[in-house]
């Protein structure tokens, strides 16, 4: 769990929940864990093509992506540290 929190903390660099606009990457908190996980996996396998998420998702195991998705989904309020 602590590992997952630490891994998920860096997502905010681009997906910061503090400010969002139509031009920003999608917000991650409050999305269902399964939905986030599925999306991360499709980036990892290349089924879905993003600007850079394919390059990032490939650096994590399936288990790590599941753990990250769970942490992000459980982050209910915008904060610098999920």
């Amino acid at each position: 769990m602590e590992d997952a929190k630490a891994m998920a903390a860096v997502c905010n660099g681009c997906h910061g929940p503090l400010l969002s606009s139509p031009l920003s990457p999608p917000l991650l908190h409050n999305q269902p864990a399964d939905q986030l996980f599925t999306k991360l996996i499709t980036y990892k396998t290349g089924q879905l093509e993003g600007t850079l998420m394919n390059r990032i998702a490939k650096g994590y195991s399936k288990e790590q992506l599941r753990a990250i998705a769970n942490v992000l989904a459980s982050t209910t309020s915008p904060s610098s540290t999920p």
Binding site: E2, A6, T51, L52, R55
Partner: protein, 465 residues
């Protein structure tokens, strides 16, 4: 972690009452005063001291940039008392400052007044001068000594004056580096504005490592954009001390496509390494040639911020070796180095990396202070670069902490697709701006203030070079 010493959380070493008073730690931030527990303090000080939980650990963070300010916040959120030492009331951010040079953005959009720190962060507006790792003490400019249980060192970079012959602080007034954002950024912008159409701009780019590996090439792109738009008969010559650089194929392809005859890049094997600067003649010398510039931008060699050098935390390379997972120095115990000053191997010296390292370092320091094993988790970096305002590219990577290094993950990472559609280039440009907003909000707790904008406008109005 090979450090097996006990983590002694008893009250820190005593310091003199005079030093306590000199510290001038006033106001709401006093919860961190347990730092001064060793004092024979007066009643008000004692009362304030008692507010802090007994034996609650103290962490001193040196440097209030992307790494330090972020780390201070995350540490404080986990309940650690933090003293953040940085002399500056305001921070002028480097990422996006190439847009300022190209007259596409105002410097006030780069300028932040760090605020909104948690209560248990005490901000000390002093320059930290010396770290005594054995005594676990930091001496500030005014002689005050701060004790720490653990120290986070995030001093950023210093320019190595005269490492490039002829390039000193005087030369920089004529030939700006603009590698620390602020007046130098505006100087370069204004020189470009004053240059006649048909002029020659020359950039000198150093060998690795230096702050922001793709930065010089984004700068070349945006200067070219300015020249193409305002002074199309001009030329930009980039003299590089290396042959390969970050996102090279994407940059060079885009230069050809967007700025055909405007940018001329020469690398090390072309003999283009600049070896001497003649500021009086605005001339850059290589071993084989000399380049007279109408506007010159000299990005000099760099090293870790001076306190890392004087306190012997940097090694002979000028940068600070660390144990990857914890960022703890391999030279001294209880000192963690993050951001540009650290040797993080494959991780570049970028604001994104600094911010990512800061968050992990805060977690590791908190764990070590409570005798928990440090985590071993990957980190990421993403660096966006702008070719023009609507054309962004990126390099991203996932790094694993091995015993000796932060190493890229096989099969992951890389640069934007060579044949990405224009919509992706636009998206990456938008994401670059969003990233900047997010990361500055996270580190500095503020967006650039209106008041600040007004002040800067007045200060810089009619500036003439």
């Amino acid at each position: 972690m090979t450090d097996t010493r006990d983590h002694d959380l008893s009250p820190p070493h005593s310091i003199t009452r005079r030093q306590c008073l000199q510290a001038g730690l006033t106001g709401a931030g006093l919860t961190a005063l347990s730092l001064l527990e060793g004092c024979t303090a007066g009643s008000s000080e004692r009362a304030l001291t008692q507010r802090a939980p007994k034996h609650s650990p103290n962490v001193v963070v040196i440097g209030g940039g992307f790494a330090g300010a972020t780390c201070a916040r995350v540490l404080a959120e986990s309940g650690v008392n933090v003293v953040l030492v940085d002399p500056s009331e305001q921070y002028v951010a480097c990422p996006m400052s190439n847009l300022v040079i190209a007259s596409l953005r105002n410097i006030e959009a780069q300028t932040f007044q760090p605020q909104g720190f948690p209560e248990n962060v005490t901000v000390v507006r002093q320059m930290a001068q010396y770290i005594d790792a054995e005594q676990q003490q930091v001496t500030l400019e005014d002689g005050v000594v701060l004790n720490y249980d653990r120290l986070v060192l995030a001093p950023g970079i210093d320019l190595r004056w005269s490492a490039l012959e002829g390039y000193d602080t005087e030369a920089a007034k004529r030939m700006p580096h603009a590698w620390k954002a602020g007046p130098q950024t505006l100087l370069l912008r204004d020189q470009l504005r004053a240059m006649p159409n048909g002029g020659t701009v020359v950039m000198s780019v150093p060998a690795n490592p230096y702050r922001c590996p793709p930065g010089p090439y984004e700068r070349a792109s945006l200067i070219a954009h300015y020249l193409k738009t305002h002074k199309p008969r001009s030329k930009l010559i980039v003299l590089d001390a290396k042959d390969r650089f970050s996102k090279q194929s994407l940059f060079q392809r885009a230069w050809k496509e967007q700025y055909s005859n405007l940018i001329e890049w020469q690398g090390l094997s072309d003999g283009a390494q600049v070896v001497r600067i003649d500021a009086k003649r605005n001339t850059l010398h290589t071993d084989f040639d000399e380049f007279r510039a109408d506007v010159a931008n000299v990005i000099p060699p760099q090293q870790a911020g001076s306190i890392a050098i004087t306190s012997d935390i940097a090694d002979a390379s000028g940068w600070c070796p660390i144990q990857p997972a914890t960022f703890e120095s391999t030279r001294v115990p209880n000192v963690h180095i993050i951001g540009d000053a650290a040797i993080a191997n494959a991780m570049p010296k970028s604001a994104f990396a600094a911010n990512a390292q800061a968050k992990l370092c805060a977690i590791q320091v908190t764990r070590l202070l409570s005798d928990q094993d440090p985590l071993s988790v990957p980190l990421i970096n993403t660096c966006y670069s702008l070719i023009n305002p609507n054309y962004g590219i990126s390099v991203a990577d996932v790094y694993q902490p091995t015993q000796s290094a932060w190493s890229p993950t096989p099969g992951a990472g890389g640069v934007s697709a060579t044949n990405a559609p224009a919509s992706h280039r636009q998206k990456e440009a938008d994401y670059a701006h969003h990233w900047f907003k997010t990361i500055t909000q996270e580190a500095f707790g503020s967006t650039p203030t209106t008041k600040q904008k007004e002040r800067d406008k007045n200060r810089h109005r009619n500036r003439i070079v």
